[in-house]
């Protein structure tokens, strides 16, 4: 007897290619408390803010957040809103706009979150291990430093080939990677303007990947330059200005005024323990707007259109 996954004659009447477009209302199916969530982008650019605001609005708890290698205030916002149990990111902040994320710093100093201490080399080694389905990846950066002491998951070992002392970095495997990109078609073919930072590695390491895009384009447009397709998403969500207040290469720059408002609210909390301004921020930009469109209306068209690259 022939052994086949599809026995003769069993195909349904109509066989259609299935789009992977995710509506904002369906985000709840992707995200729940206790998950390990990777956030793409870098520093002040391309964070999946529609998904981040969704997680805060829903009051998700106990998340393990793998921020980007230069994690932005997306991570800080989640910490401030009380969604996070553990952070895996070599940095959380916004460079000159906030040298260190105020909620991250306060929570790390008070021991309210667990910080998986690492530098970028160890961070990427862990993602690389997950992507290659290996239990760990060796890494030299960190030998001779305090990292193995601060983070017991990083284990010094003698390599069996050259007898060198190296660090074993365990695989970092996100349940879901949340990314923001320029455009995709309805079938999850994602293309960036710019390099996409390390988003492709997050995709390779994660179990599933959801990508917000500025535009969903016809499949024909993707086929015009297939070499530019950077990753194949499990879900794509239409999210114009979806990285706001951060930048999206090819579309808009960061909204410094908005970022300052957020940072200032964080500073008031970290300096004098007053959550008032941050609660006002959360209420205005996250809890009141029920959808991404409501959020964009709150920010205002005038502001959004002022964030041009020229």
């Amino acid at each position: 007897m022939m052994d086949s996954h599809l026995s003769a004659g069993s195909a349904p009447e109509t066989v259609e290619r299935r789009p992977v477009v995710v509506e904002e209302g369906a985000l709840a199916e992707w995200l729940r408390s206790g998950m390990c969530v990777a956030l793409g982008g870098l520093a002040t650019s391309c964070h999946a803010m529609v998904a981040v605001r969704h997680m805060i609005r829903r009051g998700l708890r106990d998340l393990t957040v793998i921020g980007s290698a230069v994690g932005g205030l997306d991570v800080d916002l989640l910490i401030g809103a009380g969604c996070v149990r553990k952070v895996i990111s070599p940095y959380v902040g916004a460079e000159a706009l906030a040298p260190i994320g105020p909620f991250f710093r306060a929570a790390a100093e008070r021991g309210e979150i667990e910080v998986w201490e690492c530098d970028e080399g160890q961070y990427y080694a862990g993602l690389q291990a997950a992507a290659q389905m290996l239990p760990f990846m060796p890494c030299r950066g960190g030998v001779g430093t305090s990292y193995p002491e601060l983070n017991p998951d990083l284990k010094l070992f003698t390599d069996p080939v050259r007898r060198q002392t190296l660090l074993a970095v365990p695989a970092l495997e996100p349940d879901v990677a949340l990314l923001h990109a320029a455009h995709a078609d309805a079938y999850g073919n994602v293309q960036f303007v710019g390099t996409g930072y390390a988003d492709r590695l997050l995709w390779r390491a994660a179990t599933r990947t959801l990508v917000q895009v500025e535009r969903i384009v016809p499949n024909e447009e993707i086929r015009r330059s297939p070499e530019r397709t950077a990753l194949l998403a499990h879900g794509v969500m239409r999210a114009p200005f979806g990285a706001h207040p951060f930048s999206s290469p090819g579309f808009y720059i960061e909204d410094r005024e908005h970022i300052r408002e957020l940072v200032e609210a964080g500073r008031v909390f970290s300096k004098i323990g007053d959550r008032g301004p941050f609660e006002v921020y959360l209420d205005r930009y996250i809890h009141r707007p029920e959808t991404h469109i409501d959020y964009l209306e709150t920010v205002g068209l005038r502001r959004l259109l002022s964030l041009h690259e020229y």
């Binding site: 982008g41 870098l42 520093a43 002040t44 650019s45 391309c46 980007s68 290698a69 230069v70 070599p90 940095y91 959380v92 902040g93 460079e95 000159a96 706009l97 040298p99 260190i100 991250f104 710093r105 790390a108 100093e109 008070r110 021991g111 910080v115 201490e117 530098d119 970028e120 080399g121 160890q122 990427y124 080694a125 993602l127 690389q128 890494c139 030299r140 950066g141 960190g142 030998v143 001779g144 430093t145 305090s146 990292y147 601060l150 060198q164 002392t165 190296l166 710019g194 390099t195 996409g196 930072y197 390390a198 492709r200 590695l201 930048s247 290469p249 090819g250 720059i253 960061e254 690259e309």
Partner: protein, 272 residues
């Protein structure tokens, strides 16, 4: 070893301390080297670009994620953020962050820069934070970014601090995020299996420090104009090796200052 002679000098007062620091860094970089600026600190960026425009037409300059050559470019405007896509206008190549960090082989030819909250006598440094009593941190610092891994592999690196005080220069770092010369001695890094050449100079607002050849302990190399040797010693939290003769840090030449002010830093960030 890298280093250029200094043919003629302006009166030191005409250059700011930051311009002086950038010029020192510039003169220590050779044509053909890869200068890995990483995050966009103004003095380091200016030092790298000055070297490139002054004597490094074949340098590979990596600012943020770009790889570029700007030798024929009239002015490089400062861009503040690492991810500013508009920096692409000066780029010849643009790399993914993970490729830059994971693939260290090309770092063997790189010159790199490391900032610090604390530096110990052997140039080991700390960006992680300051230890608390009963808690891990009194102050959680920004973290190492990629300095741990890059400094393990690069040809040489420079320690750079904006403050020269006993709280920065400490006998022992609370945490070590970047290895300098470990527990000391010229073989310290080899013993740890770190292939890179280690820290060469430490550049501060008061002075330039180098490492004594045998012990690899920090030594005063030069003091900036108007700074007394005693002032540097008093602001260092451990015994600094002080040679008999301590020169004044060489000022920029008119040509260097002209490149800095006209092409590298027209906004005057180094004069603020």
């Amino acid at each position: 070893m890298p280093g250029l002679s200094n043919p003629c000098t302006l009166p030191a007062a005409t250059a700011s301390i930051k311009e002086l620091m950038a010029t020192f860094l510039s003169r220590d970089m050779l044509d053909g080297e890869e200068i890995f600026v990483g995050t966009n600190l103004p003095v380091i960026r200016a030092g790298a670009l000055l070297a490139h425009l002054h004597h490094g037409p074949n340098m590979r300059v990596m600012v943020a994620h770009t790889r570029t050559n700007l030798f024929h470019t009239p002015v490089m405007e400062h861009f503040e953020l690492l991810t500013d896509w508009r920096a692409g206008r000066w780029a010849e190549a643009y790399f993914n962050d993970n490729e830059i960090v994971l693939y260290q082989k090309s770092r063997r030819d790189s010159v790199f820069f490391v900032g610090a909250l604390q530096i110990d006598p052997h140039g080991n440094s700390n960006l992680i934070g300051l230890a608390g009593e009963g808690a891990r941190f009194r102050m959680r610092g920004p973290g190492a970014i990629a300095t741990t891994t890059n400094a393990s592999h690069v040809r040489r690196f420079y320690l750079y601090v904006n403050e020269h005080s006993p709280r920065v220069f400490v006998e022992r770092c609370d945490f070590v995020s970047t290895v300098g010369w470990g527990r000391g001695g010229a073989g310290a890094r080899r013993a740890l299996g770190l292939p890179g050449g280690g820290p060469r100079y430490c550049v501060t607002p008061l002075a330039i420090l180098d490492f004594e050849e045998q012990s690899k302990r920090l030594r005063l190399r030069s003091v900036h104009p108007g700074i007394a040797v005693e002032q540097v010693v008093a602001n260092t939290g451990f015994p600094l090796i002080v040679p008999e003769r301590v020169p004044v840090t060489e000022a920029p030449t008119p040509e260097e200052l002209d490149i800095l002010r006209r092409r590298v830093d027209p906004q005057g960030l180094l004069r603020r």
